[in-house]
Symmetry: C2
Subunit: 338 residues, 2 copies
DNA sequence: CTGAAAGCGCTTACAG
DNA sequence: CTGAAAGCGCTTACAG
């Protein structure tokens, strides 16, 4: 039989209230006698008392739990974020209820309901939907704070933490230009995503700042997946004005590009330079080793937790959204034209 | 203000008990009049009633939550497992409380306590410790079912699901032998792990079955990490009787091997053939493309959930432990000597 | 210094 | 067919 305040109270002939008070370190505050404090602590120790957190949650209407909804936890990009969120959370005595929306809006909606029912104190969400209004509707009556991570939306007033996608793309293009590239292709993720729009903007502005005219034929694709990378790459190589370098908006797009390059027996990076968003542990061992735009999703995760944590403490927090700079990890996939 | 049974009861002038009964689909059972059923349902719908699961958990002493403790959620090996566990769980209306032990026994212990306090219905654990007795002590009074996943221990009666590590290693060596290799190195993970022992056994027995004498100098290493792969590889190449092929016990070990090979400018796979445990999405694009021993951790995850689920339903379940066969994914890192 | 009581939101055996 | 009551394990304002 597990010990409860009640059982201890009975055994010790002290009221449950008092037991609660000493076990919660409120002995001083309530001026409880040294004697009883000692007795209670010793006995609790002896019977191995552990507080029932669900009872505590019910009475406090606070669960010390936060919900985390990710589109694909098996993707290292998200799982490293999850790791850092969990790390921060457990340091602050919060637990994580994890849900995988599998990029499906329906599952996400269910997850949100579930989390609400479970009375989490806050939610960190990487949304799979595009419409702010859709979410606004859902969050409206929940009455619990929400924070977006990685992806975010306009038309809804939810703080977010994301990479500085604009700058990431800008820097990448600038980097390419500095190596002498002037004809640069861009393979995009889903165009409904704000993060994708930001990157596109960075791409275009960098070209502009360096007086390179933008060729719309070199901007294509519409998805973060490998298939899109593959198809777009094939398309790109058919252009009369073929790119000498290519910027991939994700890991998986890059894999599709690599696949196409392999099939076509391109000689990388001489025939084509590649730079891609998202770092990966194998980048070093691919041929050529991959120059990447690393997103600091460890920081993103930690920051997302801190944000939701602050929000839980006191709702006030003016425009707490946060952009984290990316970093170019230079390896061997960019050919120096100069 | 969120609706509760009580608030609805008050608004409708019906007792909370009755509200509870109709909302839980027990109207028939309690022969509640069609009229009230309709009223209640309509009103609950209107005010958007959602049950408070923490209250429900408290009263039922059942939380429909399971705890998942993994040594490193950022590792794709574990995160794909997590994904499939979550998928199964949510299909059965269970939620996952995720904890990352970060390969530290201390964090694992805390996680276990936390989960116990949170009254999860069961725990899926990939243990970082080695001693059965250590865990036996901890699980003894918890009174909630536990299942090991991937790693398991002797000296403790806890069901587990893992890869068939013995067979995985055996098959790999056999595969190598069939390509004409006779001098085969093995770089191990942590030797205190049963899974590592099993693989070692498979390695040795395959050699034996093919009448190849075992050379203890070719078996080395003691950790799943990259560093160990690197150091062991260097060591291995100093042998008078250098291996023509090498079996790595993990992804990360393999990366260390690749790193060393690159530094030494080995010509792979001619100079050295490589086969490694753990599939990875980049295996195709590494040079040479990597032949791997794939662990089906999707199945492992799903099975682990099913196991704990059964255990939660009724404790009986005789020797439910489960080994899942691995699969060799043949690519280009094995040189055919024949 | 400590206890009795009420309440967090639910469910269910007991009555009628 | 439906209500009142007790209880899940906790905490805390109120008394004394």
């Amino acid at each position: 039989m597990k010990a409860s305040l009640k059982s201890i109270a009975k055994d010790l002939n002290i009221s449950p209230g008092t037991i609660s008070r000493v076990l919660n370190g409120k002995a001083k505050e309530y001026r409880i006698s040294e004697a009883t404090v000692k007795r209670v602590k010793a006995y609790a120790q002896k019977v191995g008392y552990t507080p029932n957190l669900v009872a505590k949650s019910l009475q406090a209407s606070k669960s010390f739990t936060i919900g985390l909804i990710l589109p694909d936890i098996s993707n290292p990009f998200f799982s490293t974020m999850a790791k850092h969120i969990e790390q921060q959370a457990s340091a602050m005595h919060y637990s994580i209820l994890l849900m995988d929306s599998d990029e499906q809006l329906e599952k996400e909606t269910k997850a949100l309901q579930q989390l609400y029912s479970r009375k989490v104190d806050g939610i960190i969400l990487c949304p799979v939907g595009f419409e702010g209004s859709h979410y606004k509707e859902q969050f409206k009556d929940m009455g619990i704070p929400v924070v977006f991570v990685d992806r975010y939306l306009k038309g809804i007033d939810v703080p977010f933490v994301s990479s500085n996608n604009y700058k990431g793309a800008y820097d990448a293009v600038e980097f390419l230009i500095q190596k002498g590239h002037k004809t640069i292709g861009l393979i995009q993720g889903d165009q409904k995503l704000l993060t994708v729009n930001e990157r596109e903007k960075g791409f275009k502005e960098a070209l502009q700042d360096y007086n390179i005219s933008f060729n719309a034929n070199l901007l294509l694709g519409n998805g973060f997946n490998e298939e899109n990378g593959y198809v777009s790459m094939l398309q790109l190589l058919k252009e009369k004005n073929k790119p000498t370098a290519i910027l991939c908006m994700s890991n998986q797009i890059c894999m599709g590009v690599l696949k196409a390059a392999k099939e076509l027996q391109l000689n990388l990076p001489q025939d084509l330079s590649i730079i891609s968003f998202d770092e990966n542990p194998y980048a070093e061992y691919i041929t050529p080793s991959l120059t990447t735009i690393k997103q600091h999703n460890d920081k993103m995760g930690a920051k997302a937790f801190n944000l939701i944590y602050d929000l839980i403490q006191d709702q006030k927090s003016e425009d707490p959204s946060f952009l984290i700079d990316t970093e170019i990890i230079e390896r061997g996939s960019i050919f120096d034209l100069l």
